[in-house]
């Protein structure tokens, strides 16, 4: 009798662990499928597994990946942020303007550092404003960030008079910036470092615990005396900051400041977070899950691209994957 119970509880623990790792199981499945479905090179090797292709996938998911880290925190607090694409555009425009139209006579390193700092700073300010106004005015996050999405896009287009700003290929500070940050290794390193930092914040700090608690049950958190305003504003400020960093990466890869950049990116970011297991109602989720979700989308895009699948079929496939991922995780037991 005792042994049966022991086996049952061991089995229950394994199933429990498996159910928490559902997103990883999904990733493994998609990777296996990609290996099977990958076209072959002339020497018979599997193109999907080429080191160059795998690092391509990492680089291509970096922009959305960086933003998804911030979105995880925002959604964990029970909120949402639709303005991330517009903040990305603003960041690329501030950066390109300072790199191409400001001649401070400084050493290139300083010029680039100030331009990047200003772009990320401006983005963080927008995030701060989002967070503060959501708290102060009591406007639902969906509405507030929807308004920001429209307003910040308008601001970016007004600042640049609807034009794009090319970051050149010569020898000036702008070109040096694009060559160094646009480099594949640099982009991947930025993404992975930020992932580690924010994983630590969520799992190993008091702030991380507060974020989860507020999303799980805000009333209870309030009664426990948690600093709700500070945590929420911080989450949106970090979202702004990470959108700004994503904008810097984007500008380096596309050699351009573009007020129309990032249109619709908020949906890719939210999809990645949701597939990774974070619940839209708040309180449940993880950075690991987000990274897995982002990777699933990245691998999917890659294998469909390697097989030259029509873009419209790609979009429909992604939609089905998103629905499946959420459906599978719907009744996962709360930890």
């Amino acid at each position: 009798m005792g042994m049966t119970r022991q086996i049952e509880s061991a089995g229950g623990r394994v199933l429990g662990a498996l159910s928490r790792l559902q997103s990883i199981v999904g990733l493994i499945l998609i990777v296996l499928l990609s290996i099977v479905l990958s076209p072959k090179a002339t020497d018979g090797s599997i193109i999907f597994l080429h080191w160059g292709n795998l690092t391509d996938v990492l680089r291509q998911m970096s922009v959305v990946g960086v933003m998804a880290l911030g979105m995880t925190f925002v959604i964990l607090t029970g909120g949402i942020d639709l303005s991330v694409g517009s903040i990305l555009a603003l960041s690329t425009c501030v950066l390109a303007t300072l790199l191409t139209q400001w001649q401070p006579g400084l050493d290139y390193g300083w010029h680039i550092a100030i331009a990047v700092g200003a772009a990320v700073g401006a983005s963080t300010l927008v995030g701060l404003a989002n967070g503060y106004l959501i708290f102060r005015l009591g406007v639902p996050p969906f509405i507030m960030t929807l308004a920001a999405m429209i307003g910040i896009r308008g601001l970016a287009k007004w600042l640049t008079r609807n034009a794009t700003m090319d970051i050149g290929f010569g020898q000036d500070a702008a070109a040096v910036f694009a060559r160094s940050i646009g480099d594949k290794t640099a982009t991947i390193l930025v993404f992975l470092s930020l992932a580690v930092i924010f994983w630590v914040v969520l799992t190993r700090t008091v702030l991380g615990r507060y974020v989860r608690a507020i999303g799980d049950n805000e009333q209870a958190a309030r009664y426990s005396g948690l600093p709700i305003r500070r945590v929420k504003v911080w989450a949106y400020a970090m979202m702004g900051l990470l959108s700004g960093v994503a904008g810097v990466l984007y500008a380096a890869q596309t050699n351009q400041g573009d007020p129309n950049a990032g249109s619709g990116y908020e949906l890719d970011v939210i999809a990645a977070v949701v597939i990774g297991g974070t619940s839209l109602s708040g309180g449940k989720g993880s950075i690991t899950g987000t990274i897995v979700g982002t990777t699933i989308m990245g691998v999917l895009t890659n294998i469909l691209g390697l097989n030259n699948i029509d873009s419209n079929v790609q979009m429909m496939t992604k939609a089905v994957i998103i629905i499946l991922a959420v459906w599978v995780q719907k009744h996962r037991k709360a930890d």
């Binding site: 199933l15 159910s19 559902q22 199981v25 999904g26 499945l29 998609i30 499928l33 479905l37 076209p39 090179a41 002339t42 193109i47 080429h50 160059g52 292709n53 391509d56 291509q60 922009v63 609807n162 034009a163 794009t164 090319d166 970051i167 050149g168 290929f169 646009g182 984007y250 890869q253 596309t254 050699n255 351009q256 573009d258 950049a261 249109s263 895009t301 890659n302 294998i303 469909l304 691209g305 390697l306 097989n307 030259n308 699948i309 029509d310 873009s311 419209n312 079929v313 496939t317 089905v320 994957i321 499946l324 991922a325 459906w327 599978v328 719907k330 009744h331 996962r332």
Partner: protein, 326 residues
């Protein structure tokens, strides 16, 4: 349904989806496919580009040993860069690119060249010449033809070169827009009595052009010419004028001259447009040069091919329409 059951269901659906999607496009017929040609199109959603895609698909289909696919970047620079990067991994025999914008696509097309893949740059240019050949149209010449047509028309109408022009522009900063604008402006600047009374940006889109034209109509009691930099905008302007019963007061000029029921040539036949200028799809040339590159190892294409345009007026419109129906 239990959670395990859901996971199983989801796994089965995913596997079926991916197997179905991938296998149907990647399996060649035995021994028939020898060449892979990939076309990176910046935006399938524009009529001009949809026409390019149709013609490109039809022309390549004439060669059973060519596997041809089109990538749609949906007007997103990063998406186009990523798609071309993935395409390079497949080592296609030919890459054709219609760049979304100049600077963003420059680096990745250089990577394709460095990977020894021949690259044809189609219709829009990039900052550095990272391509095997560039097939373009002369938008400045189109602008000049439009300007000359305007002068001739006004001379016939008033006996002297004078009149009021409303100009509708596409996306600013695109080479085509700048040159269609300047080509006409340079012709017209020697005639002080020909005036631009209203210039507005309508982003190449018919509905926006209609709105801008209504504003122009309200502000100007006498308009002689509407010069729109593409046919959809010219048609939008016509619709606005017709709403105000002023369509007989002025003539409408566009650019594109696509064939078929929806194209500009038909609109000239129908009397909606007084003239349009064929903006070549550049596709025939691309397929012709592409084929030579594929099959002839010693073939050295020119660095640039310039396609000429034709003016479409009521005199030759019917005939041109018949020709494009083939």
């Amino acid at each position: 349904m239990s959670n395990c059951g859901r996971v199983l269901c989801a796994a089965v659906v995913s596997v079926t989806l991916m197997l179905g999607g991938c296998k149907s496009s990647s399996s060649p017929t035995e021994g028939a496919r020898k060449f892979t040609v990939i076309f990176s199109q910046c935006n399938n959603a524009e009529p001009y580009r949809a026409a390019q895609n149709d013609l490109m698909t039809r022309l390549w289909a004439q060669y059973p040993d060519v596997q041809f696919s089109i990538l749609d970047a949906q007007q997103d620079d990063k998406k186009q860069i990523d798609q071309i990067t993935t395409a390079i991994r497949q080592k296609p025999d030919l890459l054709i690119v219609a760049p979304n914008q100049r600077a963003p696509l420059t680096r990745v097309m250089g990577e394709a060249m460095r990977a020894d893949i021949p690259v044809i740059c189609l219709e829009r240019d990039i900052v550095e010449p990272h391509y095997t050949t560039y097939i373009r149209c002369d938008n400045y010449a189109i602008g000049k033809m439009a300007g000359q047509f305007i002068v001739e028309h006004l001379k016939k109408k008033y006996g002297a070169p004078k009149g009021n022009i409303v100009q509708l522009q596409g996306l600013l900063g695109v080479e085509a827009e700048i040159n269609r604008n300047n080509g006409a402006a340079d012709v017209l600047k020697v005639y002080p009595d020909i005036k631009y009374v209203h210039t507005a940006v309508a982003d190449w889109i018919q509905s926006k052009a209609k709105d801008r034209m209504i504003e122009a109509l309200n502000a100007n009691p006498q308009i002689d010419i509407v010069y729109a930099h593409n046919d959809p905008m010219a048609i939008g302007a016509y619709l606005a004028a017709r709403e105000k019963s002023r369509e007989k007061e002025m003539i409408f000029i566009g650019v594109d001259g696509l064939g078929g029921e929806q194209g500009g040539i038909k609109k000239v036949v129908d009397g909606v447009l007084a003239a349009t200028f064929v903006y070549p799809l550049c596709v025939d040339k691309a397929v012709e040069i592409g084929n030579s590159i594929l099959r002839n190892k010693d073939f050295k294409p020119q660095k640039e091919y310039v396609m000429t345009s034709t003016a479409v007026t009521p005199e030759n419109a019917a005939e041109l329409l018949k020709k494009t129906a083939n």
